[in-house]
Amino acid sequence: MSLHLKAGSVTFENVTKKYGAVTAIDDVSFSIAPGHLVTLLGPSGCGKTTTLRMIAGLEHASSGRILIGGKDVTNLPATDRDVSMVFQSYALFPHMTVGENVAYGLTVGGLKKAEAAERAEEGLALVGLAGYASRLPSELSGGQQQRVAVARALVLEPEVLLLDEPLSNLDAKLRRKVREEIRDLQQKLGLTAVYVTHDQEEALAVSDRIIVMNRSIIAQEGTPRELYEAPSSAFIADFIGDANLITGEVISANHEKAKVRIDSIEYELPSRGLRIGSAQIAVRPDSILLEPAQGSSGPGSSVSGSSESGSAGAKDQIGIRGNVTHSTYLGNQMHYSVDSPLGELFVVDYRIDNAIKAGSDISITFATKGMALIAP
């Protein structure tokens, strides 16, 4: 492939975007390294799409600076920016053939028709659609249209490729395949790519780094692993994979480890800068271990404490008493809703053979692997 990409960086410096009285982006700063795929992740209305559109130049910042490849583009219109975008709806021009669509950016840029068509054909080959140039977009499947949109953006050899929820119109199975293709292509070509999605699984799967946005600001930025294992807030913990938020108490802490007491059980967790006192702990649903209760005392009364932490499913450990209110069978896993003194807990259990019936009393323990202290 003869693409000569010049992957550029993207930098936001204190960018704010206001629509009248509404602030869509509030004083946001971040920086994306060349050749990285960075995902903007967040619930709808968090400002992630506005951020993407500001990189494209489709929206202009109310204040702050935007740099692409080190150049200030804050006031530059979309037409003059060296970025291209793949739209959620693909936005293929329905009155042009696939080839004309892919060649569009090249011809309006002044390239001769024959040369543009040749480059378009190369672009189509890159996404596995060689020989489709004379079709109309309406004659292609959704996945193929999506790849045409990618090819159309790539042939311009942009400094940055922008993808706005590119998979949302595909069915679940195709989604996984296409996202792998996009990731492969991005790594092969060394592209800088900014990817918007509201699907955390998709974000974890494709990204070098993830920027999680919430309510017009950046909630947390990091690698997928950092976000999952060390969420900085309850919002992140809940948004990146489900989490149960429970309250515990830090009883001792140094800069590395902290001893945390939940109910009457003690666990040792990375301290993450927390001091002694009350603390919130995020617990992944599959890190809550349920065992049929042995004693007959009522829920909530723990019989004895144990300082031994992380003993996953240890038979000898006596946990917190609880009661299963709902028990749902999902083929390869069980979902439980559990009533406990810590509040209502959502539990995922892959041991479907020993399913617990709704109404059963159980004892609850936690696996420290899926627990994280959250900064207050």
Binding site: H60, A91, V108
Partner: protein, 744 residues
């Protein structure tokens, strides 16, 4: 945008230094000036030479033409680039207009200025090519500067488009209407006086209530209002009846009812009145027949309120039908089904569910009927008798012996008040009150039927009315073929011969008929106006749908306003505004074209908005991010996808220009007479034969135009299918192998 402003600055220099600055007496397209004393004759001289003759007030215009030169090598992001252009363009435009309005044919226009600067010995005429070029150049410099300053995402095309539309609407809608307001205060001596307005406004002639107690007629204002209420009521009820029949019954010919909706588009407004005279006038067919049968004397009841009401109801019922059929269909069937499953009867469902949901639509139809009736000129003109209404009184105030401009202005203001209140009501009150329940989701339910009583009422009213309408149009088509309708009903081609005779003279074609002249003028002017109207309308629609900018609501309101301004008001206001410098246009073909453009622009805007709302916005954005500018995007992406809307706008503005009469009748001149005003003249002379022959020719021409275009649109679809077919044949094998590979 990568293009620089220099071509525009050059255009400004061409206008200033080369082209004749002032309007030429011979007309815009006459080029005698090239050989007749140019460039030093003061009638033809460009501004640069005028300065050194006696028009030294043009000198300051050199500043905005020279000032931008110093940013020759500056880049666009330099703040000085933007500010220089804004200052040059803004100052140039303001000064150009300022001097145009303050110095006219009689020197200073305002006595205070004369006192300050002393009397002027020279005077100036309306702006010509030169001024037009230079003004355009200043406007673009200004908008380029505004774009460079970061407005509207720095898009020069969009800022310029907004600038152009605003300038045009301001000049050709707001300036004339403003001029009317001012004229209402000018007395016979040409001085401003509040009493002129109050005397004319609070006169018995307009508001008199004498008709309640005596046989004297009421004031024209009340007459118009009363007539409008009657017409709006009858058209709304009939329209609703037709809409219910078309959607809620199994009436056999209900599909052909929809043909009705095309009728008002192709019917010149006075034709219905004309046909009514032939049928129900004193010597009309039906009148005579009834008079013979019952042995009573034929009456003149048609001339006056009953006749106008009948004609307007016939003319505007199809419009109400068009509005209401959408409303009636818009009521979600599942709501009616829900009501019925809850145990309500058909009548109860209709009364409690369907009707309340239709109410805003019904109110809308009523207001449209009200506005149409108020603005109608043709029918009252033909059938008025002693029943005077505002639209015709305005005409007689200007054209008649009285030539009372301030009276015409006051009448126009009153008419405008009525229509604008209806327009405001429609937008403010109904704007956010639409209950139409059309969602993107397919609603598979079936509309509830009507209960028998309602069903029969609808059928019994609408079928005779539809039959009556057919008879009327039959009269129009056949009336031209008889010698003297009602008296001598033998077949004759005499009227067509008189109007449209063609002869041979020394081997060349001679258009002998009396009507050819106005016919060709009409076709030519309508054909020039149509593309301009469509372009302006669609450009405005593009700005409204696709761009966000401050003051967009006011912008939208301004562009839709001319819809609510009755044609007679436009006509009067154009006369008042464009008879004097700086815009001297009366008597030209240009004023007719401009009048059509701004009167029919809302149609193009609405069509464009509807079509463009259905185009995904990300198509434009995709094009922009691929490096195309807004103009290229519009040309290569939006326009090709809007082709049906463009064609519709073209046809509609062409047809409306042909049928228009109310504004045109003020603006025609001996050189540029239009068909409609020519026909009105025939009617006034009692020459019904030619008038009706001419009308039916117009109807046939318009019908042909519409059908032709529909055929073209239809063929376009076919061609697309043709284009697909061989390709899919070619590609099928490869698709198959591709899928097979996938499976393997």
């Amino acid at each position: 945008m990568r293009t620089s402003f220099f071509p525009w600055l050059a255009a400004g220099w061409i206008g200033f230094a080369i082209l004749p600055w002032y309007a030429l007496e011979d007309g815009f397209w006459a080029f005698e000036w090239l050989i007749d004393g140019y460039p030093f004759d003061s009638d033809y001289a460009p501004a640069l030479i005028q300065i050194f003759q006696d028009k030294e007030w043009l000198l300051p215009l050199l500043f905005p033409l020279l000032f931008p030169l110093w940013i020759f090598n500056k880049v666009k992001s330099d703040p000085k680039y933007a500010s220089t252009l804004i200052i040059s363009g803004g100052f140039g435009l303001a000064y150009l207009l300022g001097q145009g309005f303050t110095i006219g044919i009689g020197g200073w226009e305002y006595s205070t200025l004369e006192a300050a600067f002393g009397p002027l010995e020279t005077r100036q005429f309306g702006m010509g090519y030169g001024a037009l070029f230079t003004a355009g150049s200043f406007l673009i410099l200004l908008t380029t500067g505004l774009a460079a300053a970061g407005n509207l995402r720095g898009d020069v095309f969009v800022t310029s488009a907004i600038g152009i539309v605003v300038a045009l609407v301001a000049t050709f809608v707001f300036l004339p209407v403003g001029k009317i307001l001012v004229s209402a205060f000018v007395n016979d001596a040409g001085l401003y006086a509040l009493s002129t307005f109050t005397d004319n406004f609070f006169t018995k002639k307009i508001w008199g209530l004498d008709c309640l107690s005596t046989s004297v007629s009421c004031g024209v204002g009340l007459n118009s209002f009363f007539l409008a209420i009657l017409t709006a009521t009858s058209t709304t009820l009939l329209g609703l009846g037709f809409a219910l029949v078309a959607t809620r019954t199994d009436f056999r010919w209900k599909k052909s009812l929809r043909v009705l909706t095309i009728l008002p588009i192709i019917t010149p407004p006075f034709v219905i009145g004309l046909a009514l005279i032939l049928l129900l006038g004193r010597s009309g067919t039906i009148t005579q027949f009834v008079a013979d049968l019952l042995n009573i004397e034929a009456g003149r009841w048609l001339y006056g309120l009953p006749g106008i009401w009948l004609a307007q109801t016939l003319s505007f019922t199809p419009i109400a039908f068009l509005v209401l059929i959408g409303v009636v269909e818009g009521v979600s069937p599942s709501m009616e089904e829900a009501s019925q499953t809850l145990g309500a009867s058909r009548w109860h469902t209709f009364k409690q569910v369907s009707l309340p949901l239709m109410r805003p639509g019904i109110a809308n139809a009523f207001l449209i009927g009200f506005i149409e009736s108020m603005a109608d000129f043709g029918n009252p003109m033909v059938l008025g008798g002693n029943y005077d209404v505002l639209s015709t009184e305005i005409f007689f105030a200007i054209v008649g012996a009285q030539n009372d401009q301030s009276m015409a202005a006051v009448l126009a203001i009153i008419l405008l008040m009525f229509t604008l209140s209806a327009f405001f009501t429609q937008r403010v009150w109904l704007g956010n009150k639409s209950y139409t329940t059309v969602a993107g989701k397919a609603d598979s339910g079936i509309h509830a039927g009507m209960n028998p009583l309602l069903r029969w009422t609808c059928l019994c009213v609408t079928i005779p009315w539809a039959f009556f309408t057919i008879v009327i149009y039959g009269t129009v088509l056949f009336g031209g073929f008889v010698v003297n309708w009602g008296r001598d009903n033998s077949f004759s081609l005499q009227h067509y011969g008189e109007g449209f005779g063609i002869g041979w003279n020394e081997g060349s074609l001679v258009w002998e008929g009396a009507a050819w002249d106005s016919f060709w003028t009409t076709i030519t002017i309508s054909a020039i106006a149509a593309p301009l109207t469509a372009a302006l309308g669609l450009l405005t629609a593009y700005l409204l749908v696709r761009q966000k900018f401050g003051g967009k609501n006011i912008f939208e309101f301004g562009t839709m306003l001319s819809f609510a301004i009755p044609g007679t008001v436009i006509g009067v206001s154009y006369i008042l505004a464009f008879n004097v410098p700086p815009f001297e246009l009366t008597g030209t073909a240009a004023i007719l074209v401009l009048c059509f453009m701004f009167r029919n622009m809302p149609v193009g805007v609405r069509g464009g908005i509807a079509a463009m709302s259905q185009l995904d916005k990300s198509l434009d954005e995709a094009s922009l991010t691929l490096g195309a500018n807004s103009f290229t995007t519009m040309r290569k992406v939006i326009l090709p996808l809007l082709r049906p809307a463009i064609v519709a706008a073209l046809v509609y503005s062409f047809v409306r220009a042909i049928t228009s009469v109310s504004a045109v009748i003020f603006l025609v001149s001996a050189d540029h007479n239009m068909a409609t005003s020519y026909i009105i003249g025939l009617v006034e002379n009692g020459e019904y034969g030619i008038a009706i022959a001419y009308s039916s020719v117009l109807i046939v021409v318009m019908l042909t135009a519409i059908l032709l275009v529909q055929k073209v649109i239809g063929e376009r679809k076919l061609r697309k299918a043709d284009r697909l077919a061989p390709q899919s044949d070619k590609t099928t094998p490869s698709t198959k192998s591709a899928t097979m590979e996938k499976q393997a």
